[in-house]
């Protein structure tokens, strides 16, 4: 199992090399892996049928309670099969679609990593692992959407997708941690198995809101739906994969996964129903009013995601059965339709439906497959989509809450989706021959295998629903429900309300389609004016706001005046230190001066005089020299109190500092007093404050000893353990060598930083 999840990453590493060897058959070669994985996951089906669910454990960070545990049950297996199964055909398709592309090898690297992350996400048992894979899918899909990185628009869309999903991801992390606090475990299987009343816990509301923020952004629910159609900037194989079975379904997966634990609260079910229904209707409407074939499909994906979310919210056994069926049906037809759309784009040179027509003569196979897939989308017998739609209507009619409203929304969406199905299957292939930029001809084999197999699978599932039902769907429904469910799937239920609703929506949908050419301009005008108030406008406002705030705070905090940096640094550091000192310890002013010698007083006076002179003088050289005196005075103090190493170091450092400063001084312009009196008094106040706090701190340190000093340990063990009598050196190179190692790295980096500053400056001066 570990290998199954990680093999995608491993193959991604060697993909460029394989590409060099296998050349144009790279898609077929790479597809062997997901095909093998599909077979492997299929081989787990009997186990799941027998045991319900199983957890496969691999220790990863056992010390933190984070393990690479994998949860295999009906739900995760359905997803894993969809991901690896559809992934197989996507890789074949991509090899053909992007044949000869400059960055084909890079494409496969990202694609395989994405697939592996997706598998990890749906199979993880540990919440943290799940989250890591979740973020990995966000990052890899960012790279996939922005794959045409020379295109400004693609980069912008990719960034938008990333921002929205990662912002949601952040909320999700908080939600998952809250969930773990509530249930006391990071393991999904333990959370699901526990009989805690999670929805009565004080954190329940917060956890649900956070988790839903994550899943709604990922699964493009209203009002976060805008990133998904923009993600169409990706090459078509990516869209086909991301939107059929993977990326956007991740949110749906997580909601389904957590439904048994969180579903008992009202907040959960009502939020899901409300947002799901809104998304369903918005998606269907926007799909019908778009003209780009990929946009149409993208919006219909949003509709499907809304439907799935709503069905989880309804939460009855029937609704959950409908959920799983709709999920599978959607993945099959949407994967197929996207690949068809890519083939159309590839062969005709345009994505605009209004330009296509009569392609059935030149692309007969594509046309046949498209019709089959569109039938499933429209929910017509004998395809699996029909069964899913019947179940959808039936479960909504039967919903304990808001039945009438939800059913109306679903029927309205179904009407529009019938129209959409017509748009993608009838419009391009039948009717008048369109005027396309390229002369169309039949798509190559690699681009047809995938959609053909997926559509035929939908047909087989439709004709024989007991096949997938018995194998996996029943246990998947059980997993979403939290307890086993008896399902009964059939193509023909007799004449009942759902069937009447289906027929009605079909008729209405077809009549809408016939008037599409007339309606389109009006819809377009409405959408354009509505977009000004849409969430996407909000997104752009927000991004602009961030830029403005960033510019403002850079202007305030990073204005290039070194004195101000220093002022802030000193004021904050000593302000906080002073506050802590005052509140936790109090001030101690007693100091025993009886055993001080006259030469100690002498040094102290010298130090004070040097400090005063350094800050009062107008001569830079004088200031540097008196700073040197100050340093030597400190060195003298070290030597007096028998710390020769420190004394020597201090002496040397002071000497070299003075030399460096003198070197710099020669380059400075004439001394001018730039600061106002107010600024000078402010600086004086801050400096005095820092000095006072430091003095009080040292007095306090003399007074208390919180811990036993570690120096006695060093003194005792320096010679026996480290074979050295110079404790300072032994500490530096042995006891605390790691610190020293870090310090010399910092030192080196500082040197390189100074070097680059000097060099840059020099280059500036050489410019005319």
């Amino acid at each position: 199992m570990l290998l199954a999840v990680l093999s995608g990453f491993l193959l991604a590493i060697v993909a460029p090399a394989l590409h060099r060897i296998s050349g144009r058959y790279i898609g077929w070669v790479l597809a062997i892996l997901p095909a093998t994985l599909t077979a492997y996951f299929a081989s787990l089906i009997p186990d799941v049928q027998a045991n319900g669910s199983m957890v496969l454990e691999y220790a990863w960070l056992p010390g933190l309670g984070i393990n690479l545990n994998f949860l295999v049950d009906g739900l995760s297996l359905v997803f894993a099969l969809l991901i690896s199964g559809i992934g197989t055909f996507i890789l074949i398709y991509a090899g053909s679609y992007l044949a000869g592309h400059r960055y084909l090898a890079r494409f496969f690297v990202i694609m395989l990593s994405f697939m592996a992350s997706m598998l990890g996400l749906v199979l993880s048992d540990n919440l943290i692992t799940l989250f890591v894979f979740w973020e990995l899918t966000s990052i890899t899909s960012y790279m996939l959407i922005g794959f045409n990185h020379e295109d400004m628009e693609a980069r912008k869309c990719a960034l938008q997708g990333l921002f929205v999903t990662v912002a949601g991801g952040l909320a999700l992390m908080a939600g998952l941690v809250l969930l773990a606090i509530i249930s006391g475990s990071y393991s999904l299987s333990e959370i699901l198995a526990s009989d805690l009343a999670i929805h009565e816990h004080a954190f329940y509301t917060a956890a649900v809101i956070c988790i839903l923020a994550g899943t709604f952004t990922k699964s493009a629910q209203v009002p976060f739906h805008f990133w998904l159609p923009n993600a169409m900037a990706a090459p078509t194989p990516v869209s086909a994969f991301l939107h059929s079975a993977t990326m956007v379904k991740a949110g749906v997966y997580l909601m389904a996964r957590l439904n048994p634990s969180l579903g008992e609260g009202e907040l959960w079910s009502q939020a899901l129903m409300l947002f799901g229904a809104a998304t369903m209707f918005t998606g269907a409407y926007l799909a019908f009013s778009s003209t780009g074939i990929k946009k149409v499909l993208a919006y219909s994906t949003i509709m499907a995601l809304g439907t799935l979310t709503m069905l989880i919210g309804v939460g009855t056994e029937l609704a959950l059965t409908a959920f799983i069926c709709f999920l599978v049906a959607h993945s099959l037809y949407k994967g197929a339709l996207f690949m068809i759309a890519g083939a159309l784009d590839h062969e005709t040179g345009t994505k605009d439906i209004t330009l296509m027509g009569g392609l059935k003569k030149t692309m007969p196979v594509t046309a046949a497959i498209a019709c089959l897939a569109a039938l499933s989308l429209a929910g017509l017998p004998p395809l699996f989509g029909f069964i899913a739609k019947e179940l959808l209507f039936e479960s909504l009619l039967d919903s304990p809450l808001w039945s009438a409203g939800l059913t109306t929304a679903a029927v309205a969406a179904a009407v529009l989706i019938v129209g959409v199905a017509g748009l993608v299957a009838i419009k391009p292939f039948f009717g008048r021959v369109g005027n396309t930029p390229k002369t169309p001809h039949e798509a190559p084999l690699g681009m047809l295998v995938g959609p053909a197999v997926l559509s035929l699978t939908a047909l087989v599932f439709g004709l024989a629903p007991f096949l997938p039902e018995g194998a996996l769907l029943r246990s998947a429904v059980g997993a979403v429900n939290g307890s086993p469910v008896d399902t009964y799937l059939a193509l023909w239920h007799g004449v009942n309300v759902p069937l009447i609703l289906s027929v009605g929506s079909l008729v209405l949908g077809l009549s809408l389609l016939s008037s599409w050419n007339r309606l389109q301009p009006a819809l377009f005008a409405i959408n354009t004016s509505a977009a000004r108030f849409g969430p996407e406008t909000g997104y752009f406002r927000f991004m602009e706001g961030i830029t403005v705030v960033a510019a403002w705070q850079t202007r305030v905090l990073q204005n290039g005046v070194l004195g101000l940096y220093l002022l802030l640094l000193v004021a904050v550091t000593f302000g906080l230190t002073g506050y802590t000192l005052l509140t936790h310890h109090g001030i101690n002013l007693t100091l025993d001066l009886t055993d001080s010698h006259f030469y100690e007083w002498g040094i102290a006076l010298l130090l004070i005089a040097a400090a005063v002179f350094a800050s009062a003088t107008h001569s830079r050289l004088g200031s540097v020299a008196s700073m040197g005196v100050l340093g030597f005075g400190v060195a003298l103090t070290f030597i007096l109190f028998s710390a020769p190493d420190l004394g020597i170091t201090q002496l040397l450092v002071e000497t070299l500092t003075v030399i460096l400063l003198v070197l710099v001084l020669f380059k400075l312009p004439e001394f001018v007093n730039l600061s106002s009196p107010f600024e000078r008094y402010r600086d004086l106040a801050v400096a005095t404050f820092a000095g006072v706090v430091m003095t009080l701190l040292i007095l306090a340190a003399l007074d208390v000893q919180y811990f036993e000093s570690i120096s006695s340990y060093y003194i005792e063990n320096s010679a026996p353990l480290a074979y050295g009598r110079n404790i300072v050196n032994v500490i530096l190179v042995d006891f605390r060598a790691l610190d020293t190692l870090g310090e010399i790295f910092v030192l080196s980096l500082a040197a390189l930083g100074v070097l680059s500053m000097i060099k840059l400056k020099a280059e500036d001066q050489h410019k005319p």
Binding site: P644, D645, I648, T649, L652, V653, T655, L656, I659, L660, L663, V664, F666, K667, A722, Y723, G724, R725, N726, V728, N729, V730, L732, V733, D734, A737, L738, T740, L741, I744, F745, L747, S748, A750, A751, L752, V754, L755, I758, K759, K761, A762
Partner: protein
Amino acid sequence: MKSNTLILHTAALFIMPLQLMFSVFLLFRGHDEPGGGFIGGLVAASAFVLYAFAFGAEPTRRILRVAPRDLLAAGLLFAIASTIPAFLAGQPMLTAHWWELPLPGGSYLKLSTPLIFDIGVYAAVLGTIMTFVINLMESDE
């Protein structure tokens, strides 16, 4: 920047070798007596700085033979290299290893990973200061 006084020239030529020898002495005795890589590096740096004040940046580069930046890198390399024995022995990072080599005349040479580490510190400190000084001096030429 370059001084033209005869006294500084002559003094630098005499003092610099002494300083360098002293810095190596400090480095090796550091484990038992005051000294060590850090102090040694500073003394060596001040030797080269004295030389640079007397003769200028370019001659100092020549007498250093390696670029100051490479000295930095060498220092870090030595420090990292000192972790290898502990790594090979499967011990925590930077665990000290000691070897005693018998010398003719019955005495022993104490070699250890802390010493290698200290040489790294010496080179890194010397490299840092020379990077500062030489580049600052060159920038106004």
